[in-house]
Amino acid sequence: MPEPDQSVLARREEIIAALRAIVPGEGVITHADSLRAYESDGLTAYRQPPMLAVLPETTAQVAAIMSYCYANRVKIVPRGSGTSLSGGSLPLADGVLLGLSKFNQVLDIDLTNRLVVVQPGVTNLAVTRAVEEFGFYYAPDPSSQIACSIGGNIAENSGGVHCLKYGLTTNNVLGVEFVTIEGEILRIGGRHLDPAGLDLLGVIVGSEGLLGVVTEVTVRILAKPEAARAVLVGFPTIEGAGQCVADVIASGIIPAGMEMMDRPAIHAAEAFVHAGYPLDVEALLIVELDGPEAECAELIGEVERIAIANGAVSVRISQSEQERLTFWAGRKAAFPAVGRLAPDYYCMDGTIPRRRLPEVLERMQALSAHHGLAVANVFHAGDGNLHPLILYDANKPGELDRAEAFGSDILRLCVEVGGVLTGEHGVGVEKRDLMPVMFSEVDLAYQQRLKCAFDPRSLLNPGKVFPTLHRCAELGRAHVHAGQVPFPDIPRF
């Protein structure tokens, strides 16, 4: 992280007084013990208490805080529920942690336009809870949905097991109220599709808290499908499972969810939740179909045929809602289940073209031997998003470093085979230094030019996403190279 600015730390008391004038009462947190609650997020390997934390309750307060910090060059780290797996809300020693937890109201349920307006601190699951009595739900469902906030989902462009069919957060957000670092309050999008102007919503979603602070969110909701059924399929080889996934999609079926687990993950999950998973297989697939009863019945049969044709050795179709949820229980508990195998685990998040899966898993085993650490894999098989879980013990000297080196090697491998560093967890502080593996200096410069258009003083969540922080003024110089004469036969200007 950037070196703390001593001149800012020296002004701490003055900054506290100014923020207390904006957010009265308990909203400005300064005591070291209380600040420890914010020292890390879901990526617990990194810890840093903030200089101070502020918990505003209104958009006007957020705007005043931003405007003060801009004028006084104080850094800000926004935070929702703090469940980021990439260190997106890791505080700064010389920064203000801006917590949105008090923005916890559902503001409007508009069934005619099929949308909900919420404050950003509302949890993902609470959106569905607010509309399920009317037969609707909010589709993106990250595994942390009980805790994670919609504001955090916007920052990270969160996915979940249903995003192959229903999209990521970005495909389900209609509008935001957004506060810039200068304290301007903007409304972007609303209750209509295709907002006017440049698609700022498109870049705000997934911007990891580096462009501004969202204070209100409009999401679209969908009618809950009539039925959902799952099929649990065991394969003797990874190749068979991978080919089954490809064949299901090639047959024209986009399942609501299609998850794969490898042998270590299957065993860990079964020992933890006793979901009845087969233990004599190398790969387990959970395929979920949703829609009208008639559609589920037809497609489950088709998936079963495809699975058997690809050498499946066990096929179980859920016969009740209870059984469907049991199939999922193991998968949803895979992280804590694997967590029981070792004192610590490190969750990776690369995406690969699905056809490269067998090769990637094989090479991952070689890397596992090389680094001397075990790995278990859960995999959003439909969209190629891998979640290797690296097992280590942080109390053993050097193991965290080895786990990180192993993780980096896995992500390099993902990029090498045509994939990406992160499918849904974000770059954050974790994968920041790997960005050059995927992007050239010029590619990153254009990312950062966008950043500078929103945040010219680099005060918002610095130290995340970008491996090198250029000063915005450096990027301002237009880079023009004199080319050779490409069209000799046209008039020159």
Binding site: G190, L193, A223
Partner: protein, 382 residues
């Protein structure tokens, strides 16, 4: 009027063209099939950059649901290609040629993406922006850069493809796009309610969209033979079941009938070509909350406009006399209006895009300068 036209065949030729233009202080107007060249203020003294030389499929892997093509590739070529693998571009892009009285078939994928063009299925499947996974492009600074990737799920870095989709050539010249493709439905059918007024039609479409019938597209054509159409598609057993769901949900609006395949094709084609609207009047594309569709339609009618509704009421196409304005009405209802077609005098006086707030346009301008520091794309068109 343009000074002259350049037609690069490679990215290298394109960056060289930028270097020359930057050196000479020329402004560039980017074109593909030029089907949308009459949208925006008439502009002069620009150097035309014809992207059709950058053409062809780079990679298509149907089971991965990913297609990479060069920007100058014709939309029709791509649609035939994906159809041959029983797949589709789910955002249902379409060709603007017929709206301007020209033959179809010229639109390129680069132009579709740059203008963010989506058809009736945008309501359920998302727009061009939602299906754009990655781009290669040359910025106004003349530099080739990439953003996004060639996999369906990716959050690495800012989502610049979304920013570039719908930027109308003001940030970068797209050289290559990677799109998400989806399986084409095995069957599709269109159910209709006949003779409803627009108030009833908007309510019926809202009820349909809120039902479990998974309606793919919902549109209303007013008039003596008013038709409110709901498209269902997917697997046969499923579509059959959903017709029943829909008929139950909409029973109080009247009997639900089914169009023949030919009737359905003609109906949805009408929404792409806008054949039901007079071709000799200025044309507006109006985006509003769906529930405001009826109210908007009545206000437009009072001004003598002819209109139709798509996106379950959330999109109005309106043909209206040049002296009439629509923007105040639209802004009142929480939406915005784009001037798509009109005489040069109207387009010179009325910006194509709905004016935005001062703070929003200040931010937009900063972003434009970030990608186009020398104002090479500031042709005066938008």
């Amino acid at each position: 009027m343009t000074l002259t036209s350049l037609r690069p065949r490679t990215e290298r030729e394109l960056t060289d063209a930028f270097a020359d233009a930057l050196h000479a202080g020329a402004r560039l107007s980017i074109r593909g099939g030029a089907t949308k060249r009459h949208i925006g203020a008439p502009n002069t003294n620009t150097l035309e950059l014809d992207m059709r030389g950058l053409e062809g499929v780079v990679d298509y892997d149907p089971p991965e649901l990913v297609l990479t093509v060069r920007a100058g590739t014709r939309l029709s070529t791509i649609q035939s290609l994906v159809a041959s693998q029983n797949q589709m571009l789910a955002f249902e892009p379409f060709d603007h040629g017929p709206i301007f009285g020209e033959a179809p078939g010229e639109a390129t994928i680069g132009g579709i993406v740059a203008a963010g063009i989506s058809g009736s299925q945008r309501l359920s499947a998302g727009g061009a922006r939602d299906h754009l996974l990655g781009v290669r492009a040359v910025s106004g600074g003349g530099e080739l850069f990439i953003s996004g990737a060639k996999v369906v799920k990716n959050v690495t870095g800012y989502d610049l493809p979304k920013l570039i989709a719908g930027s109308w050539g003001r940030l970068a010249a797209i050289t290559e796009v990677t799109l998400k493709v989806l399986p084409a439905p095995r069957t599709a059918l269109t159910c209709v309610l006949n003779g409803m007024d627009v108030e009833q039609a908007v309510l019926a479409m809202a009820a349909a969209m809120g039902s479990q019938a998974e309606v793919a597209a919902a549109a209303h054509l007013p008039g003596q033979q008013a038709l409110t159409s709901l498209r269902l598609q997917g697997f046969e057993a499923s579509v059959k079941a959903r017709v029943q769901i829909l008929a139950r949900q909409l029973a109080h609006f009247g009997p639900l009938q089914q169009l023949t395949i030919a009737e359905a094709d003609a109906f949805w084609a009408g929404l792409r070509t806008l054949a039901p609207l007079p071709a000799d009047l200025p044309l507006w594309r109006i985006s509003i909350p769906p529930s405001a569709g009826a109210h908007l339609a009545r206000r437009l009618e009072a001004k003598g406009a002819k209109w139709l509704l798509d996106y379950a009421g959330g999109l109005a196409w309106a043909a209206i006399a040049p002296e009439e304005t629509v923007r105040e009405d639209v802004a009142d209802l929480g939406g915005h209006a784009t001037l798509i077609r009109g005489p040069a005098s109207l387009r010179a006086a009325t910006p194509a895009f709905h004016p935005s707030t001062k703070a929003f346009s200040a931010l937009e301008t900063r972003i434009r300068r970030a990608f186009d520091p020398a104002e090479i794309f500031e042709t005066g068109r938008f």
